[in-house]
């Protein structure tokens, strides 16, 4: 469904993605793990077309995204949903309108029907209908994430992207969000691409895991094979050890 081949992305002289190769099959849930600054968010933004890759190929259903015209890109985005790290809710709009935003503007649904669907999606992520009339600034971080998830699933997308879905949440709320993600993806039968450095979240959400390091995918396999990857970088990362090849390289670079 999504195929990245030798994708490179540089910001001036700084190379962030250095030849990413990745495949996500239909209905699969792939989690990309990696440290801060390893290129996880840039990978996601390149697939979404928010950032333009410097070189390489990104295909969605066999279609090269860089060659799509604006209408084709618009159609592709209609099939996508995205939960942002900070929820990225529109703070000038009430919660229900945030959730219904894609329905009103992209699917051209009338506001009344969109309102009803928004409340239904809110209840699906465990929020009462009254929350719909509040503004995002009045919600806690966990509630904002739930609203963000409701917005991501409101248009029943075929592919959902999750950008650090549990960052900044307490462990219980993080687990609640993980469960909601798993349920939502299962209900929709959607393909999911998640980036995170929270291993508990990765183990819960993923069918497959890929690790990105210095702009390259250095390991890719089933979530069950994660503990026996045989890759010292993956081992250090999943066990959160201070000593290992990742920190050794970082120390070498700093010197």
């Amino acid at each position: 469904m999504i195929e990245m081949t030798n994708v490179k992305k540089a910001f001036g002289p700084k190379v962030v993605l250095d030849g990413v190769d990745l495949k996500v099959g239909k209905g699969q849930s792939l989690v990309i793990i990696g440290g801060s600054g390893s290129g996880k968010s840039v990978t996601l933004k390149c697939v979404l077309g928010i950032l333009k890759a410097t070189s390489g190929s990104i295909k969605v259903d066999g279609k090269e995204t860089s060659k799509m015209d604006s209408q084709e890109h618009h159609k592709m985005m209609n099939r996508f949903g995205m939960l942002f790290q900070g929820a990225a809710l529109f703070d000038s709009l009430p919660v229900w309108e945030n959730v219904a935003f894609g329905l009103i503007h992209a699917k051209k649904m009338n506001r009344k029907d969109a309102h009803d669907i928004a409340l239904e999606k809110l209840s699906r992520v465990g929020l009462a209908p009254q929350v719909g009339d509040l503004h995002p600034a009045e919600l806690s971080g966990g509630m904002q994430k739930r609203v963000g998830l409701a917005r991501a699933i409101a248009t029943t997308p075929e592919v959902i992207f999750f950008d650090e879905p549990t960052t900044g949440l307490d462990p219980i709320m993080a687990d609640v969000i993980n469960d909601l993600i798993v349920d939502s993806v299962k209900d929709l039968g959607a393909t999911a691409l998640t980036i995170t450095h929270d291993m508990a979240s990765a183990r819960k959400i993923a069918d497959h895991v890929a690790m990105i390091y210095e702009g390259k995918i250095i390991w890719h396999g089933s979530v069950h094979a994660l503990d026996n990857s045989g890759n010292p970088f993956v081992d250090q990362f999943i066990h959160g050890r201070a000593d290992g090849p990742i920190t050794k390289n970082a120390a070498f670079k700093a010197a």
């Binding site: 077309g49 790290q85 935003f101």
Partner: protein, 272 residues
């Protein structure tokens, strides 16, 4: 030839090289910014004529930019008209030309002061707010969220603001013209002892259609500049609070300078 130039450059003292380098970099940077602003403007104008449009957002911006700026523009025009009457009276009495006060007030207000001062006040009120709002949306990934929801950020954020600014500022200035002339009238009648009838007659007699219309065209240009600068700097805001703060400052400063520059050009076009 090039080698000769390079060799002669090598012999320049370091300080001179530094000056050349800094000047070159500044000039290149200036043209790069001009190019980016031109590209942004072209893109914004391209989206004005292509659907989808967002009338609800446009009307909200009209309210924000037009209606809520009315007190600021009204007060500015009122006091400007009052001061203008006082100043021109004290100046003109030196050569017995007090009767020109009404003409000076109405021409200065309609041609220059109402559009320029309204433009500068709106730059401070609206330009800053637009840059801060869009800049915060950039920093908090709300603009990326628009893209993922299949909504073009240019159509949703930029077009309604720029259109509303361009259309609302002439209306504000027209109201400002009336209030400014009224301010001059109040001072002239109640402080300087002019006769109400003759003051109004003088005002009406001197005023020409072009005096008002040129001011309104200027206002439209200033409204476009203010909202475009707010949108451009907000859209390209740097990260964090500092980035948004800088975007707000750039929006107000660049809009103010462009207003004064374009005022000269437009005045030359209309009156020479």
């Amino acid at each position: 030839m090039t080698d000769k130039v390079l060799t002669s450059l090598k012999h320049l003292p370091n300080a001179a090289m530094d000056i050349c380098e800094t000047t070159g970099r500044t000039v290149m940077g200036f043209f790069a910014v001009v190019g980016r602003v031109a590209g942004f403007t072209g893109k914004a104008l391209g989206h004005v004529v292509r659907p989808p449009w967002y009338p609800r957002l446009f009307l909200r911006q009209c309210l924000d930019i037009g209606y809520y700026s009315l007190p600021v523009v009204g007060l500015t025009a009122l006091f400007t008209g009052m001061v203008l009457a006082l100043q021109s009276y004290t100046g003109f009495t030196r050569f017995n030309a007090e009767s020109a006060v009404a003409a000076v007030v109405v021409l200065s207000v309609t041609r220059e002061l109402a559009p320029v001062l309204a433009g500068l006040m709106v730059a401070g009120r609206v330009g800053a707010a637009i840059a801060a709002e869009i800049g915060t949306m950039r920093v908090t990934e709300q603009i990326d969220a628009l893209t993922t929801l299949s909504v073009n950020p240019f159509k949703y954020l930029i077009v309604p603001r720029v259109l509303a600014g361009t259309l609302m500022l002439p209306i504000l200035v027209l109201i400002g013209d009336i209030i400014g002339v009224f301010g001059g009238y109040i001072v002239s009648i109640y402080t300087l002892g002019f006769s109400p009838g003759s003051y109004l007659t003088q005002t009406w007699d001197i005023l020409e259609y072009m005096d008002v219309v040129s001011g309104l065209w200027k206002a439209a240009a200033f409204g476009f500049i203010v909202t475009l600068m707010g949108c451009y700097h907000g859209f390209n805001s740097g990260r964090g609070a500092q980035g948004v703060g800088a975007a707000t400052t750039y929006a107000v400063v660049s809009a103010s300078i462009l207003i004064l520059m374009s005022n000269f050009i437009l005045t030359k076009v209309f009156f020479s």
